[in-house]
Symmetry: C2
Subunit: 635 residues, 2 copies
């Protein structure tokens, strides 16, 4: 399964518990089907910093369904200290002598619950520290990624499980292009492995480099489980070019009222035997039904005439009829399934192009408060192209708040910030900080609730400017400072790529600045691995969609000896000695201690204070925005 | 131990890890001394919503030190479904077949980590849900409390462990006065129990009813472990009147630079045998040393003459000497203890009454950046009474921010809000909401990070006013509304007690409004218990401070049969069946399902929007305040 988004709309009185209920259903299915393990494709949590309630509910479900006496029938052959190198307990949870795990969960992180902040922790790390989830597929470097698989064996079947937690699409795209993504392969019997890869990225093209083309992925892979995309396309689809299959489970909850989310939600039960696989779809019963329909008013000239004074009532009656029909369908569907929530999600998209006027959504909604889970946004009015672009106009927050969120409108905080400064009066324009940097920082503040993001950016850009001034000895000439600061800022702004780099560096360095913790540098794993060509002999079966033969070795794969035996040893010696064993388990790695830098007290001139106040003003605006159901349609 | 305040100053580059290090030391001591269990007196966390890093570090420590194969030698005789009735897993963690616990922790919550929000969860509940802490001593009612002990037995020794998590002092004071606090007692062999009570309240008088006098506590108690107070007074002190002993462990970290915190920090190893006890003090080695000294300039007329132009330099040199002396002492102490952090905390309080001028703290601080953990607030200047009261003056936030926090100044957000509106111009004064309500809501927002507190209050007071208007049919007469709203508001404000009730109701009801969860009502426990008089025959020993004889039964204690046997049964049947056993374990309780109320869409007039904007303005201010190290000196 993937994209469970625990905590999505958790405060909604109707939909608040949806994600928790469905998560329980998924784990219940896992238990019922006696799976060997659960594989999650990221975004288990909707928020980067999940609420206490969400973490609590999640822990409750995991402890309830994933602990128990049912024995685990597979073993791990890879070096777990490498697989789980970012965990404080770098071994699989079911081998921990202190935890009685019946269903191990393996999960990568998604873009919603990715590592952030000075400590670079993510919500999954709390679960992994509690011993209830095995978080894997993390990569520390932003330039180069080596993906080391978890090697699993059950009887004669061996699975190499590769994972890659969410990374900004553009960055990963660039790394692929620059051949900086390497999938390590087991040295012995390279072709006896079923290679399973789980990834959480855009699969559909959102821009030139804002997605990951399937062609980028290695062709020795047998099955890709693709997270992040919410539409359920769980039946494995062959990629003819690369000879692998792609299964896209889709989200377990409807987070946007778009067509893709109206597709029935499923999870998959994957059987692997040798190199054959079979995916069994399981429909989720607790997911709130979502019905959606489109109406183009201009397509009904017989019914609607824009000049008719009563046309609005006619349109309203027509829409009501459509909604009622969807409600009937939903009710019929629900009767066959007692686990389905009572009130469905309903969305009617009304194209009112052609001189029509939209009617009051408010009154319309009130009629459906008791019948529909999303009464406030049942109707979505839109017009085609003829609508004029609204660039450059002032932002009226009151206006934004009262307007319902629509699918088409993806409100990016970053853009708001830019717009704000572009249209602002001279005296409140930025003179030292850049709009771009401020935008990213505010975005991080809002999206990830990183309280320090803005402070960190201000400090970084201020220090950078101070350094510039000092190097040029301009800081001595009081009158020239303002002028030089402006020049310096302009020259950075003009070079888009440089600014991009700068902003990224700012966010990263600022975090590192703060951290006194030892930074973990993985240095050993690569040395033990050797380059090797890959050769495979295929296997096909009528019943099972077989993974296909290929003989082409790319020389990218690398090999390694199985080192699994020590895991048993570790398991027993650890009993009751958690503190010492942790050290021994990680002894093969190198720690590099980054000493804390004493932050020098700012030799700040009033200019920075002025900018700071501007930032806090922005805080007020965006705090305001985030307190309303206004998160746009992020997946 | 108590008041570990995990996460206190976690972002401070020097002191950030102090609380985590000391928590590990405490658990290490528990392990080394092979304790039966750890008892914590609240405020394990400093923040009501601890950061990801704090929760992660805490889980790490607990899993490392409290899990393992060492067997547990005591059993629980009481009904665990009552003791842990608010837990999703209402049994002690070491009896859970899926967890291998070597050191069970029992903890009440403090005022810092108390349950808040619609879900009424607290940070400890996350640990308890993960199976790493046994959270007890919770009470749902705000009017009446029955404290049901956890009954423990090891060999011939039986301990009745009573706990009461933090409750606002005034409220608990009132409940005690109204005889609404009942400590339930075991029916059989009532006097064979060692009665241990852990509480987290003000012990020293902070106002008429703003503390809990020891005399309020039942005299059948043998030992009170008193949390919340940070000064270490761990050696049990007899209360002559009530015949019990009080041990005040004090905090494990210095959170304010006041004299009480300069007392050496300890934890206690409590031995109980029959009804005798012995407390062994263990000094904490990882706590940052804190040296403090007071200087009264006027006491040195030979050294300082206010009229001398160089007096400021002389004072500065004098202070520097004092600081150096403290640093020498700290260094000497540290040499004997390699675990002590390098940089000590230093505080020099300088009374400059008598016409002296304080020197620049900023420059002074810079000299000690590399030597002292709190360079910015080493010196604290103060003057005695002659200082004029500053009431009614405008708040200058810039001023507040640049001034270091001083001991004497406890900045309450609530008071700031009141002050803000009192001094505000007419047009931004409140016309519908009350200052008091707004103050409490903002306080909750800041202290507990309850994002919804303000929204909830606004909604509550708005609805209340609307109801009032509707009942009087004033809502039809547009012109009269403003006038009536003002009157209604004034009449509520004048009655302080009524307003107090209203604000409390607002916060509680608003929370309940939101919650769709079933509310748990404990109804069964009392019925099984009977009133009984208490009789005891004392016991004394030279070595051990004995608990003293008493024959006076208050008739307040109640009795119950031991029901412990089922715990073993539950423990084994639960293995691997977490989901079903939870239901059976709680079957003796009554659930009352509170149906969610559909929030009606506001028939709001613009007035509320105006107020809302005012609130968001406040947000900006207080967000601003909280982002600086400005939390006052809350314990």
């Amino acid at each position: 399964a993937t994209d469970i988004h625990l905590g999505y709309l958790e405060k909604d009185p109707v939909r608040g518990n949806d994600t928790f209920v469905t998560f329980n259903e998924i784990l219940e299915q896992a238990q019922k089907n006696e799976v060997d393990f659960v594989l999650l494709g990221g975004d288990l949590f909707h928020d980067n910093k999940p609420s206490r309630k969400t973490i609590h509910s999640c822990l409750e479900s995991l402890r309830k369904y994933c602990m128990g006496d049912r024995p685990i029938h597979f073993e791990i052959l890879s070096d777990q200290a490498v697989n789980f190198q970012y965990s404080k307990f770098p071994w699989v949870n079911y081998q921990d002598g202190n935890l009685n795990i019946s269903i191990p969960i393996f999960s990568i992180h998604g873009n919603h619950d990715d590592p952030t902040g000075a400590d670079a922790l993510c919500a999954l790390d709390i679960l992994s520290c509690a011993g209830l989830v095995n978080h894997f597929g993390r990569s520390a470097s932003v330039e180069k990624i080596d993906i080391s698989p978890i090697l699993l064996r059950k009887g004669g079947t061996k699975i190499a499980l590769y994972g890659l937690g969410a990374i900004p699409d553009e960055r990963l795209y660039r790394m692929f292009v620059n051949k900086q993504v390497t999938m390590l392969r087991p040295k012995e019997d390279e072709d006896s492995w079923f290679n399973l890869f789980v990834i959480h990225q855009n699969r559909s093209k959102h821009g030139a480099t804002n997605y990951i083309p399937e062609q980028f992925l290695d062709d020795f892979i047998n099955l890709v489980v693709w997270g992040h995309e919410h539409e359920c396309k769980i039946a494995p689809v062959p990629n003819e070019q690369q000879n692998f299959y792609v299964s896209q489970p889709g989200s377990a909850v409807v987070t946007s009222l778009s067509p893709g989310e109206a597709v029935k939600k499923h999870i998959g039960l994957l059987h692997v035997k040798g190199k054959k696989m079979k995916m069994h779809k399981i429909a989720l019963e607790t997911v709130r039904t979502f019905y959606m329909e489109d109406v183009v008013l201009a397509d009904h000239p017989d019914l609607f005439n824009p000049d008719n004074p009563k046309v609005t009532q006619a349109i309203q009656a027509f829409c009501m009829e459509k909604v009622e029909m969807m409600l009937d369908n939903a009710e019929r569907e629900r009767l066959g399934n007692p686990r389905q929530p009572e009130k469905p999600l309903i969305r009617l998209r009304v194209d009112y192009t052609g001189g029509f006027e939209p009617f009051s959504i408010f009154r319309f909604s009130q009629k459906y408060v008791d019948k529909v889970a999303n009464p406030k946004d049942i109707i979505h009015f839109f017009r085609r192209r003829e609508q004029k672009a609204k660039n450059g106009s002032n932002i009226n927050f009151g206006d934004l708040v009262s307007r319902p969120v629509s699918d088409g409108m993806t409100l990016r905080v970053e853009d708001l910030v830019k717009q704000y400064f572009q249209t602002a009066e001279k005296k409140v324009q930025l003179s030292l900080l850049t709009e771009r940097g401020m935008g990213e920082a505010v975005q991080e503040f809002v999206d990830k609730e990183e309280k320090d993001a803005i402070e960190e950016l201000v400090k970084f850009q201020l220090e950078k400017t101070q350094r510039f001034l000092k190097e040029r000895h301009i800081d001595a000439v009081e009158e020239k400072i303002d002028e030089e600061v402006r020049k310096f800022r302009e020259c950075r702004r003009k070079n888009a790529e440089e600014e991009d780099e700068e902003v990224r560096e700012a966010m990263t360095r600022a975090r590192a600045h703060r951290s006194e913790d030892a930074v973990l540098v993985s240095a050993s794993s690569d040395e033990e691995l050797m380059d090797t060509g890959a050769k495979a002999s295929g296997d096909s079966d009528d019943d099972l969609p077989a993974t296909v033969t290929r003989g082409r070795g790319r020389g990218r794969g690398r090999a390694r000896g199985a080192r699994g035996q020590n895991s048993t040893v570790r398991g027993s010696s650890r009993r009751g000695r958690g503190n010492t064993s942790q050290e021994s388990a990680t002894s093969s790695r190198t720690y590099k201690s980054v000493p804390a830098k004493n932050k020098s007290i700012m030799d700040g001139r009033p200019v920075c204070i002025q900018n700071l106040f501007l930032v806090w003003g922005l805080f007020a605006c965006f705090t305001f925005v985030t307190f309303f159901p206004f998160r746009g349609n992020k997946h």
